[in-house]
């Protein structure tokens, strides 16, 4: 992997160059009520924004949203009208973190050909966006108090799945170029970059280790003693009922999760006939598993929350070989019932151990 150093100022210039040929999304801070920085993506339209924020941890929006839209027209019928538009603009997403890129692996597994899904099952809309999307990821140089990537096999820096990665060091960034798409982004940027010094890679490693230590420290109390990819969280419903007591089935956790990929197809009238949309759907909704005759294999909310958490740790592992909780902490951030994935797992593991004893 090729690495160069770029100053903060030159990186702004480089992003400005990208914006001539691509739709470029960058992380910016939104100063809400003068008291909180909540970084999220913004489309570069008129110069690189002053509020560009290239430090901190994962952003509010997870990057699956750039590929798997909350609502997208996927078919138009009858055949007398043109089919749904598959084309996607070339886009650069600056800002996904290590947890987000691990999340995209699940999106790829579900929507792209794998050992489970042959080509005839490929989703052309998501694949076209994936092909035209360039990922410029970032190291985390601090942790949110809800970050727990190191508990689920991750690290607070991107290990793979990016085209270009940026690591903060004094005065700028180490730019790692991993793919041909990454080279395309760095083409003609020689005037903006310099060789990486050994002291800079050492600084990067030091910074990375300090974030790992911070995350480990804040999650010490949630340690279950069970390896993250060895969980068996099947438990009597009353155990899960305890976890669920503050859940109101709002499904915010489903929506902000980088690995929730479920949807519902909805047909409706449209100009010239009808259109079919693919809409994010959420397994916490009571109707999610309901069948035509009125049956419902997960009518109870505790069954549904159990299903969601076990899907992350067990079902995805057993099907795709991926634990799909990435430790990004978003579901904890957004939960109005203050349900914490880490506490939930600790509770279930503890109760199961008690039952065995």
């Amino acid at each position: 992997m090729r690495e160069v150093f770029i100053t903060r100022e030159n990186l702004r210039k480089l992003i400005g160059r990208w914006a001539k040929d691509f739709r470029v999304y960058v992380p910016v801070t939104f100063d809400i009520m003068n008291h909180e920085e909540t970084p999220d993506y913004e489309l570069v339209t008129d110069g690189v924004p002053e509020t560009l924020m290239l430090h901190g941890a994962a952003l509010a929006t997870n990057p699956k949203s750039f590929l798997f839209y909350p609502r997208e027209v996927v078919s138009k019928y009858p055949s007398s009208q043109a089919e749904a538009d598959v084309t996607a603009p070339k886009a650069v997403i600056v800002g996904p973190r290590g947890c987000d890129l691990r999340g995209l692996k699940k999106v790829d597994k579900v929507y792209w050909s794998t050992e489970h899904f042959t080509e005839e099952y490929d989703d052309p809309f998501i694949i076209e966006k994936r092909r035209n999307t360039y990922i410029v990821s970032l190291d985390c140089d601090s942790a949110k108090e809800t970050c727990f990537c190191t508990m689920v096999g991750g690290n607070p820096w991107p290990e793979d799945g990016f085209d270009v990665n940026l690591s903060q060091v004094e005065g700028g960034f180490i730019v790692a170029v991993a793919t041909e798409k990454g080279e395309e982004l760095m083409k003609g940027a020689d005037d903006l970059s310099a060789d990486v010094q050994k002291s800079q890679t050492e600084e990067r490693d030091r910074r990375r280790n300090s974030v790992v230590e911070a995350i480990n420290r804040q999650n010490h109390e949630f340690d279950t003693g069970v390896a993250y990819d060895q969980h068996d969280l099947e438990a009597p419903l009353d155990v899960w009922q305890y976890v669920t007591q503050n859940c109101v089935a709002c499904s915010a956790c489903n929506r902000c999760c980088p690995t929730c990929t479920c949807f519902l197809l909805v047909d409706q009238r449209a100009e010239g006939g009808y259109e079919r949309t693919r809409n994010w759907d959420t397994c916490l909704s009571i109707g999610f598993a309901r069948t035509g005759g009125g049956g419902n294999s997960r009518a109870n909310l505790a069954e549904r929350l159990q299903n969601r958490i076990r899907c992350k740790f067990e079902f995805s592992r057993d099907r795709y070989g991926l634990v799909t909780c990435t430790g990004c902490g978003r579901c904890i951030d957004v939960c109005m019932g203050r349900i914490d994935m880490r506490e939930a797992i600790k509770h279930v593991v503890t109760e199961k151990a008690k039952a065995r004893a």
Binding site: G273, T291, G293, S316
Partner: protein, 270 residues
């Protein structure tokens, strides 16, 4: 790249009422759409939506397919208002069908409940195409009342086929019924078959699958030889939307036909 979400326009060619709430439709897709017994398709009523159904016609008939449909929700109610000559959409086929190559030389027990006989009809007709290959075809069918019996005209014809028997029951006594009375499991007491090798294909409401499964295992059947038609709400049929997930299984890809052995690890799979 193919658009996996696009429905194939299909013309309604025939509508045949079976019971007050169940109707058999024959569709002629404008593009080839063939299936194996047990696989399912997604049926679109334009502007209303899609729902999954297993065809009930002979899979060896390639130009048309029939689906026997009970009116239970938005799509099926909208379908009821459609006429011969109207156009619907079909996508598929999806999922796994029955492992029919393993059925040769065996006794095959078909257990249907209510409209659950519909997907099994597709299997039955496929078996009849090579009826001499099988040692026995025993069809055991239960309905709530005589009015709820589907394929009333076909059942006596089936009973005349070589190596084939048809046993029927209804749930409660009824003035128009002289036959067996009781839920479907009453037809599973007498099973003069080689239970080690016999194959059962079961389809019906979830509670029926549950008790039939218990009974067939009690009778000594191999759980690998009991095929259930799993009912889930498949929205995409493509192993993506997640609606039909059961543990790590997508019923739309790993099913809808699944063996008792495959579902044994679930506390209540039906």
């Amino acid at each position: 790249m193919k658009n996996i979400y696009r429905p194939i326009e299909s013309v309604i060619e025939d509508i045949k009422p079976e019971t007050p709430t169940i109707t058999t439709y024959r569709f002629r897709p404008k593009e080839p759409l063939t299936f194996e017994a047990g696989q399912f398709v997604e049926l679109t009523v334009p502007g209303v939506g899609e729902a999954p159904f297993t065809p009930s016609s002979n899979p060896n008939v390639k130009e048309t397919l029939e689906i026997t449909i009970m009116k239970v929700g938005a799509v099926t109610e909208a379908l009821e208002k459609m006429k011969v000559g109207d156009t619907v959409g079909l996508r598929g086929p999806y999922g796994n069908g029955y492992n029919m190559q393993d059925f040769d030389g065996k006794e095959i027990i078909i257990v249907g409940g209510g409209v659950g006989l519909a997907p099994l009809r597709s299997l039955i007709l496929a078996l009849f195409d090579n009826v001499e290959r099988y040692k026995k075809i025993s069809i055991r069918y239960g309905a709530r009342t005589p009015d709820d019996v589907v394929y009333k005209d076909l059942l006596p014809e089936w009973a005349k086929m070589k190596n084939t028997e048809v046993l029927q029951t209804i749930d409660a006594p009824h003035p128009d019924w002289n036959g067996t009375v009781g839920v479907i499991t009453v037809l599973l007491e007498e099973m003069p078959f080689d239970m080690k090798t016999a194959v059962a294909c079961v389809c019906g409401p979830p509670v029926m699958l549950k008790f039939v499964n218990i009974k067939l295992l009690e009778k000594g059947m191999d759980p690998n030889n009991i095929y259930h038609s799993m009912e889930r709400n498949m929205s995409c049929g493509l192993g993506k939307c997640g609606h039909c997930m059961m543990g790590e299984y997508y019923i739309c890809k790993d099913g809808p036909v699944m063996t008792a052995a495959q579902v044994a690890k679930f506390e209540d799979p039906f």
